[in-house]
Symmetry: C2
Subunit: 345 residues, 2 copies
């Protein structure tokens, strides 16, 4: 059963900001599944900031996407042909198929989405982003009731997990987001104590004052997922022995082109280093694969909280594979409202 | 018994590089010791990079020295009058008397220097600098045999402790120092596997290549005590899950005025942050008072190693209190060779 399908490949590497020319939509033949393989009809693609990193060929924790290869990405979909034990037509699965509408996959690389959960939850709140927030907050942030956590992209799937789970543990949660609507949503829907609109602050200095006002007892944990102006504003407000899990820095993916600050000045690193020293901060980079051993613990603890509504999630849905590049570029600029997915077929 | 003594006070705060005008030598009357106090005749003053920080009034982990107040500093000396139980004339003591030749001190703020150790060891290898190196390396660096550690100021009292104790634990130790004489001393006297002369490398890029060659298996621990060009060169060579104890950044105390690099460029902080993320580094600031609970453990373990010659120390001795400012300014530029002390009286 051969299928003519569509996929989006990396046409060329971006220089700075991502543009439509970096992508190409093309047809391709999905081969028949060999022994142990299945064919998946993709129903939804996840768009995530880490994909920006994969478009560069700089050294990173994962290999870059090759030019002319399919863009990397997680999806949910339905098995439409199986040559693998344990998988049958109609199974709903999660896998890293890339940006496409059909894919042949080794069954070993697929996970069945549990019944009773909306399939797209596997892309967000109970998927990589949610787990990233939970793992970084708990394992590196070491949260204690009564402390204060700050996280940016507060309505996104990572930030909203950090804020909600911190509240669940009894912390003060202060979010940062772009625009009054997102800030309202962070407070009203996700339960953040406060949410600051980074667009309202011209630079790191103004951000610093706003953080100080929103965090009268200082900041104990800064969950770092944006860098830029937010980092500049939070660092001087860190309490002694504060913790900074570092999982991303979207503001710097293009080095300053994202409207969250014009990049740091000449003395930024010395100043940051000095703050790390003076306040005895612990700054620790992590990527989610380092924490896989805690995945079952995460699902066991958080899935019930999602089911009973303690932990909420918000999705921003684009329609059609061909619109994925535009949705991705918009997301990198903060244009999404909640977890960005693309519905396919 | 009133004594007319000499002391050096902070005449005015430095703007950038420290100059002679920042200091003033003056006479003062040492009052008679009250109950619980003793009079100390200072025999040697310790000069340490942290003193540069005390001269500024920026927020730090310790209060700045007030203008017109005596410069802060640790000394060893002899008790010449005692009004305190347990202290007698002739006792050899360590204390934070400041830059002076006589001081009245509460006996509680003094420690007797153990017999059988040269008194000035209490200022270096078995004092704050040695303990700083040992504590940062063991508690934060978490060294494992076979790993590689890099430390700058390799012939100084902190760096030489880091290198020697790392070798004692079975690590590869690569030092950085200023000039061929110090580098040779680091290797021949302190037993570093290699020592790089930072003056031979124009910038962080060249430093990076040199570090890569000296550390064929990458860097697992970078003991950060200088910042600047060395940090720029080491960061890209850090191995995954590397550790960076941060205890100082002498190259940046004047923000680039110390000949160890012209200060970082605009994209330094993003690049550092990216490396922390990609390599999942742990960067942790510490100051020595956080580790006091391990001081007895340190002395119990390291004093015998000093006594039997496993751990060596080198002193650079200036003569006379009036020459302390010059020796201090020279030390900040790397002009000292070993632990800088000033002999007094």
């Amino acid at each position: 059963m051969s299928v003519t399908a569509k996929r989006i490949v990396l046409a060329k590497r971006p220089k700075g900001e991502v543009t439509p020319e970096n992508f190409r939509l093309e047809d391709y033949e999905v081969p028949d599944p060999k022994a142990g393989e299945v064919v998946v009809r993709v129903t939804a693609l996840s768009l995530d900031p880490y994909m920006r990193g994969r478009m560069d060929d700089a050294k990173s924790y994962a290999a870059p996407v090759e030019v002319d290869a399919v863009m990397e990405g997680g999806t949910v979909g339905e098995v439409i042909a199986s040559n693998a034990d344990g998988f049958a037509e109609g199974d709903v699965v999660f896998g890293m198929t890339g940006w496409c509408d059909h894919a042949v996959m080794s069954a070993k690389a697929l996970t069945k989405v549990p019944a009773g959960v909306p399939p797209t939850a596997a892309l967000g709140v109970l998927g990589m982003p949610g787990f990233t927030g939970w793992h970084g907050l708990t394992d590196i942030g070491k949260p204690k009731a009564g402390e204060t956590v700050v996280v940016a992209a507060a309505t996104g799937p990572v930030g909203s997990m950090v804020g909600q789970y911190a509240k669940h543990l009894g912390l003060r949660a202060v979010g940062v987001a772009g625009g009054p609507d997102k800030c309202r949503h962070a407070v009203e829907h996700f339960g953040f104590d406060e949410c600051l609109d980074h667009r309202a602050y011209a630079d790191g200095k103004e951000m610093r004052k706003a953080i100080a006002e929103a965090c009268p007892d200082g900041v104990d944990i800064y969950f770092e997922n944006v860098g830029g102006k937010v980092l500049e504003g939070v660092l001087p407000n860190m309490n002694t022995f504060g913790r900074i899990p570092v999982c991303g820095m979207i503001a710097w993916y293009d080095l300053g082109g994202l409207g969250m600050g014009d990049g740091p000045g000449k003395d930024q690193l010395p100043r940051a280093w000095r703050t790390i020293l003076v306040n005895r901060l612990k700054v620790e980079g992590f990527i989610i694969t380092d924490g896989w051993h805690r995945l079952n613990e995460f699902l066991g603890e958080v899935a019930p909280l999602v089911a009973n509504g303690t932990i909420k999630f918000t999705e921003d849905v684009a329609e059609g594979l061909e619109n994925a590049p535009e949705a991705f570029m918009s997301m990198l600029k903060g244009g999404n409202f909640g977890k960005q997915i693309v519905k396919i077929a």
